[in-house]
């Protein structure tokens, strides 16, 4: 629920409300950045450990289905099955290729330390685009916010400090001098910030609801019980590959 500010709310109260919202938004941005990084790393690991095995399994199964169809040309359902299997193999190969898991791996960033997170919150709450007083300021803030996210993802403390310095030195960081207009701007900013916070919460909910998060959750739960679920999964697919290959060899 969005609570729109009352028109006669005192300025101090509105400023406090804005500061709280900026802090909340910075925290949500941080959670989103961390979760995205974690999910990307997990997804890459999954595709590398398991994805390529599905590609291999589907390819052998497609070849097996095609071989069976060739041996019994009088059975049209075998050709249908072969076409389905080939289509599945092509889709799996395409998805694996699109994931980029077969490209050379970049060194994953270390987990963020508390100081880095604190710095992110501080900078994000100062430069956030929803604090912009005009279009020019909004553009600069949006650009800096993108740079901040990139620097945080690389755990680049120095680059983050530079962003903050750049911001403090820019004319856009200076406040206006028309009190009435400032107050109105403040109210609008609060409404925008509330809306942004709702949007971020939805984004987070979508990520928590995604297949990759659910898979990550299963893997973590198994890990708590001393099991490596991805390794077990890979082993299980390898077993199915061996069986399919044996069947293909038998078919000739």
């Amino acid at each position: 629920m969005i609570n729109h500010p009352e028109p006669d709310q005192p300025r101090q109260e509105l400023e406090k409300q804005r500061a709280d919202l900026l802090e909340k938004l910075a925290e949500l941005d941080l959670q989103l950045a961390d979760l995205r990084t974690e999910l990307q790393a997990f997804e890459r690991r999954y595709y590398q450990m398991v994805g390529h095995l599905y590609v291999e399994l589907d390819e052998i199964q497609a070849r097996l289905a095609e071989a069976r169809a060739r041996y019994a040309p009088e059975q049209p359902e075998l050709w249908t099955a072969a076409r389905h299997a080939r289509h599945q193999a092509q889709q799996t190969a395409r998805e694996y290729h699109d994931s980029g898991a077969d490209l050379p791996e970049k060194e994953p960033p270390p987990p963020p330390d508390p100081d880095l997170k604190k710095l992110f919150r501080t900078i994000a709450s100062q430069i956030h685009p929803d604090r912009a007083e005009n279009e020019k300021s909004r553009q600069l803030r949006t650009e800096l916010m993108a740079k901040l996210n990139a620097a945080y993802a690389q755990r680049d403390h120095q680059a983050m400090e530079n962003i903050l310095r750049h911001w403090r030195e820019s004319p856009a960081s200076v406040k206006g001098e028309d009190p009435a207009a400032d107050l109105e701007r403040l109210r609008r900013q609060i409404a925008q910030l509330q809306q942004r916070a709702v949007e971020r919460e939805h984004e987070l909910a979508d990520l928590y609801d995604s297949e990759r998060f659910r898979l990550l959750q299963q893997v973590s739960m198994a890990q708590d019980q001393g099991r490596d679920l991805l390794a077990e999964l890979a082993e299980d697919i390898l077993r199915r590959i061996r069986m399919a290959r044996a069947a293909l060899d038998e078919t000739g």
Partner: protein, 377 residues
Amino acid sequence: MPNLEELGQLITIKTANLDAPASNLLRRGLEDALQLAADPRLSTLLQSLEHAPDWAEKIAVWEELRQFPPDTPGWVEGLRLLIYRGRGWPRLLAAEALAWHGQTPRDAIPVLSAALEVTLSLQRLDWARLVCGALGRYASLPRSIVAQAVPSLVDALYTKDPDVQGYAAQALQRAGELAYPALVRLAILTERSQPPLKDIFLATLKTIDPAIDQPLSALRRALDDKDPELRRRALVALAEWPSSITTILPDILQAARDEEPEVLQQLALTLGRQALDHSDSRAVLEDLATAGAPGVSLAAHYALVRFNHDTAKHQRAIRRGLRETDPSLRRLAARILAEVGASHSWQTRRALHKALHNETDPETRTTLQKSLSRLEV
């Protein structure tokens, strides 16, 4: 009674947007991982729920699955995946089991809403009751999917089955103020029913607006709603209200400021039907009779006849309505003449006969015939 297979097929069609894509390596990995991680008995049951050809076996499996504690490894995920991989019945039964334990509303509610729509259209009220009960298990309906669940739940309030009505009302409590489209129907049900159902309906009204303390205050709230259809329906309900509504006459007359002709027309019909003869009502009606759109004007003349106010003049105005170019207006004139025609019966009958003779629109002819038979009785 429609068979269960048809019901399952319709659920499959209604929820086709949930079908999993043919190739999705993450989902596939999740499914295979569950096979490895889940309790073996659970894996067997999930397989049976999806594939058992025998109906009794499917139901037995579903009942057993509902008894599992939801923190059983693989229980939530297994049922959730069944929603996206399964067809009609497995999809519905998985969604119901998840809802029974208040789990994964974003996945289960779209299936339950679609199933409610299907069960209501096929008149399978036994399953409609079960689905409403499942929707009511959630502590709250997420705002993002309320738009999907509320319309079917409101439709469920219109069934004749008190159990379905009660369960639907309880589920609507989870939508809070977003259940406002149910205001009018809940007000009617509260007025007509006895405890404990009456208490459930009233509790639901209170979740929509805590200021509502009785059915008439719900209608007062509906009269003030931004949705013109809800305002019109509130006036329709008031037209048939079994007890006195004079206490909220000022609120009713506020509708005279409405910009929607349908609302204004119903305002006049309600004032006439309830014979709310009062100086303020008469002033409103005189104004509507002269300055309103044709349908509004006809309804206002009707109400003034009901007030016995210059009856002959207003009856003439209604009879002129039989010559309107819009057939819906001719039908309205015919219907209201049948209701008020007794005092000038011969003139009314003659006008209706003449209109019937000239009428070419089949629906209007039927209305005219019904009005004539009503007057002749």
